[in-house]
Symmetry: C2
Subunit: 297 residues, 2 copies
């Protein structure tokens, strides 16, 4: 094996911590360090902690564990520095545009970016593309949950009178979801008033939403999540081809692992920006290609 | 859209017929014709039928629907003629070697070959690679069936005293299988003797095999098949990540559809030979890349 891939972790929230675990478990990565807004010690972490990636040495790839709205700016900056990037940008409607913007920068600087590399978007996208190729006519349903929705939880927390909140996504079939919303109400606010504000919020008014008041949100938190993707379609002219992909996973752990596997793939692509459906699966994996083909194909 | 991809179907057995259906259903293919050993009319088929691919005009890609042991020779010959190839070569132990041989020829002639493009090897291989990237530690089980096994049926038919036979693969979990073998016994042969010959055959002696005598094999034939791939593994340092892929499909229809999707991908690769885990999923699909990314990622 050649020298290890030297990775920087950018952002050290929930995902960043799991990325550190996945990098330590990988046979072909070294850890250059962690980039944070503040140069603060992290208990139990013995890698350089810096506020600027330039303070780390010989970084091959930056794994962006910052909020989705910030990944594009970080990726652009790092690509210009000659560093490959990978992120789990998850604003579905903007992915194609972000990819095209980063593609120009990546090509101009002879580096690669893999964007939207998590589980949805990410591994689920690969499944959807494969199933479309296997049965071009038909319908694919992506059913999320049960599991916490970070986006919906944040939306609830922003509503006046909500002290803390958790929105759990429950699949009710054919890509439809129920939102089970748990809230702690701030003193001086009325639960029923807060409840009706949530039910009329854009994030919730189109879904089957159930709101429950609780004393302690923290007691409900569980990082487990899941997805069931189904497709029933037509291969050629043959109907009733039935496919189902089902997973039950720890959400941040899977996101982090796919980020790390994609960081490996980023170092193996021609210059440009890619989503996961645009890269070969073998590039996600460590080890000898012939052995991988023998083991997996 | 630019001009359509002009495809030749090579071999017109069961898979070849389904490939014709899939090509007709595809928006971006034209059919150059069918290559067979004998120039025989096929009822209902109005494409040129030839015995040599040189008799067809401007073929971009040849879809090889010949037995597995013949695909390599056909692919080598056609690549040298400047024609991309795709096959569903399914002798797992030889795939890496065949790929490497064809890779040299493809590169020398500036064309691409996609090999082992069916469902296993093929789409199942993509799932296995993706799940390994998602949870690098753990065990994947591929459970086949219930469905007819062509290879095992052929093996039984070769045994003296067997007039016709069908071997059905039944999944019994953790990648183990029962073989339900149905045979018509030739006149003058003893069922129990034939049965013990089968049970001692290399193809069957390691499996749980049940042999039943029937009057008419044809009454049992059903092209349905299935697979369940499971993986329970570790993402980073987080255990108990659980994945399951399940499909119930018409076997030749799915093989043919994946051949056709892969024929499209063959025209989009850099020169070389590839298995499905070495190509991006988006290349299997017709249509605008930005629209595909918006729809699938």
């Amino acid at each position: 094996m050649t020298r290890k891939i030297n990775a920087a972790i950018v952002g050290f929230g929930n995902i960043g911590r799991y990325v550190l675990n996945a990098l330590e478990a990988a046979p072909d990565f070294s850890i250059a360090g962690i980039v944070r807004r503040e140069k603060r010690e992290i208990p139990g972490v013995n890698y350089p902690i810096v506020t600027d990636i330039d303070q780390l040495e010989a970084v091959d790839v930056a794994i962006l564990c910052v909020p989705s709205r910030q990944t594009q700016a970080y990726a652009a900056e790092y690509l210009k520095k000659g560093i490959h990037t990978v992120d789990s940008f998850d604003i579905h409607s903007d992915i194609a545009a972000v990819r095209n913007e980063l593609d120009k920068i990546a090509k101009a600087h002879n580096r690669s970016a893999i964007i939207s590399a998590g589980w949805d978007p990410g591994s689920d996208s690969v499944i959807r593309a494969l199933l479309l190729a296997a049965a071009p006519k038909g319908v694919t349903y992506t059913n999320f949950g049960p599991g916490m929705s970070m986006g919906h939880s944040t939306a609830v927390k922003a509503i006046p009178g909500v002290k803390d909140a958790l929105s759990v996504t429950i699949p009710i079939g054919t890509g439809q979801h129920r939102r089970m919303v748990y809230i702690e109400v701030e003193e001086g606010h009325d639960f029923n008033h807060v409840k009706s504000t949530i039910l009329n919020d854009d994030y919730f008014k189109h879904d089957d939403t159930v709101i429950t008041q609780v004393d302690d949100i923290d007691q409900l938190k569980d990082a487990g999540h899941g997805v069931k993707i189904t497709r029933k379609g037509v291969s050629g002219t043959t109907d009733n081809q039935i496919f189902e992909f089902d997973m039950r996973i720890n959400n941040p752990a899977l996101t982090a692992q796919i980020l790390v596997s994609s960081a490996r793939a980023a170092t193996r692509q021609q210059p440009g920006a890619y989503t996961m459906i645009e890269i070969p699966m073998i590039d996600l994996l460590p080890g000898d290609r012939d052995e991988l083909i023998a083991a997996l194909v």
